[in-house]
Amino acid sequence: MKSLKKTILLLSMLIIMISSSVSTAFAAEMSGTEFLTGCNLSPGEKKSVSLFIRNDDAVSHSYSLTAGDSSNSYELYFSSNGASIKNVTIPAGTSSQIDLNISLNGKASVKEDKLAVKAIRDDGKENVINLSIIINKDYALSIKGMFDKIDVISGKSAEFTFSVINNGYKDLNNIKIKPELPYKWFASQGAESTINLKPGETGTFTIKVDVPSSQAAGNFKVKFTAVSDEISSDQVSTPVTVKSSSNIGLWMVGILILIAVVTLVQFKKNGRR
């Protein structure tokens, strides 16, 4: 009886050991600090959500990271230590911190949204966690360009006028326009001025952009974003067509006419030979 009890005890210990090893072999736990509480996101805001992926398996695994199945459109990518990643390899028995960087793309179609974040292990095991996202409309800023297209001559300046609207429920402070310009193009006026807007108010900005004289003729895109202390708007892109300055052309034609006159004088003076 004593030996039977010992055998049962040993067997049950063995079962416990086996069952625990089997469960860790297939369990790759994924936890996020904000997963349980959800993520508050304002339009134009870029947020980073920390996720922890734990590999409880006995061997190292590579995890492929994806996120989707949301109602709203988001711009998102995963990063680790500041570097953008799509896959992560986690040694056995350790966990790794991954950041999900997320911002709203365009306008939100729903206020309360869910985002399925998946970590697919190299052996096909899939872990999904639904991240709840609440779109915060306290702060909302939109920008609209007054012109669809702008023509400018190289070496001259172009003026861009924008209307900026506070679509949120709270005040927006120190709103300014942040331009993204091609190389050697500079915003000479207007980029430093700031305004404050109350909810529903509209402000106007005029930015003067200098196009260098060395700029070859062509079509370019100039991008602008309205930025306040609280939030930033979507980026607006304005097509700009740069036309060649007539200066160099006039120089060429002038020299050509001068040479033509000298040639004519030569012919008149000496006649045909």
Partner: protein, 321 residues
């Protein structure tokens, strides 16, 4: 008389071994480059068609749109070959046109038969331009045939016009070097010296001046960009560039003196190699790049007029070299 002189120029050119060697080199390079370019277009087309078939076999209804294959960019390599080999061919052609008459002592013979000097120059230029036009048309035909037969693409009307305009620019570019070569050969007393001077001028115009534009750009001084390496903000960058305004104007001016740069700029815009011209019509591209077109035309005309003056005033014309 002009036509007779031109015809003789064409006959003589095809007896010139140096010209024929360079012509063969240019044609071989062009054919290889166009065929390779056409194959690249074909591979891209096949890849797209295969992916569409695969998606259709999976029952997918939403198919990706066809990517912009830009078949006319198959001529991209041709820009470089014309820039180097084409220019050399034009130089040899122009130099031989004048120096052979000096060398053979036929200059005085022709001029003593009541042929005006300007008529002689015009006839020679016409003959050489006809040769260059023939080479351009030949490469044009090779390009169209390769793109359609090998690439398997149907060119749009805009593509055809863009290609025709591009070959027109190539012709103008080679014309400049023929005119320059004839001009220097007219001024110089020795044909070999004239050829050497023309080649030096070509090297300066085609390689030194464009390089000044690129390498002397302040931001190109350090790999990765001077301003970003120095950790400068856009405002600081602006302030620095304001201090170097004269330098920038000078650098830009030197670059504008290069016909090669003008040829590259207008050609890359027409061939859609340079992004930003895809939505423009071919004529809009020419309208935007009118300075580059003028940069190809005006120097040729100016050099040609100066050649008239030099030839008209030259007194030692009856001396043979």
């Amino acid at each position: 008389m002009i036509i007779e002189i031109a015809k003789k120029e064409i006959r003589d050119a095809f007896r010139n071994k140096l010209f024929l060697s360079i012509l063969v080199l240019l044609l071989v390079l062009t054919i290889v480059s166009i065929i390779l370019g056409s194959y690249q277009v074909k591979i891209a087309m096949d890849t797209y068609n295969n992916s569409i078939s695969f998606l259709q076999s999976l029952g997918k209804a939403e198919l990706p749109p066809m990517p912009n294959l830009n078949p006319i960019s198959a001529s991209k390599g041709f820009v470089n070959y014309i820039g180097m080999v084409g220019a050399l061919l034009a130089i040899v052609l122009g130099n031989t046109a004048i120096s052979k008459e000096h060398k053979n002592g036929t200059m005085r013979l022709i001029l003593s038969r009541g042929v005006f000097r300007d008529t002689l120059l015009n006839g020679k230029l016409l003959g050489n331009l006809a040769i260059l036009a023939g080479i351009t048309i030949l490469t044009e035909i090779i390009t169209f045939v390769s793109l359609v037969v090998i690439g398997g693409v149907a060119l749009t009307t805009n593509d055809v016009i863009r290609l025709l305009l591009f070959f027109g620019m190539s012709f103008l570019y080679m014309t400049f070097f023929t005119v320059l070569s004839m001009g220097i050969a007219t001024v110089s007393t020795k044909g070999s010296r004239a050829l050497l001077i023309t080649v030096i001028v070509w090297l300066v115009l085609s390689f030194v001046f464009p390089q000044i534009g690129d390498t002397m750009d302040m931001d190109n001084q350090i790999p990765g960009g001077f301003f970003s390496s120095m950790g400068m903000s856009r405002d600081q960058e602006h302030q620095v560039l304001q201090q170097f305004k004269f330098y920038e104007t000078l650098r830009n001016g030197v670059e504008e003196m290069s016909p090669t740069k003008h040829y590259e700029r207008i050609s890359y815009a027409l061939l859609n190699v340079k992004p930003g011209f895809e939505t423009n019509t071919p004529w809009e591209v020419v309208g935007l790049k009118w300075v580059n077109l003028l940069g190809l035309l005006a120097p040729s005309l100016a050099v040609w007029l100066l050649t008239y003056i030099a030839f008209l005033r030259r007194e030692n014309i009856y001396q043979s070299n």
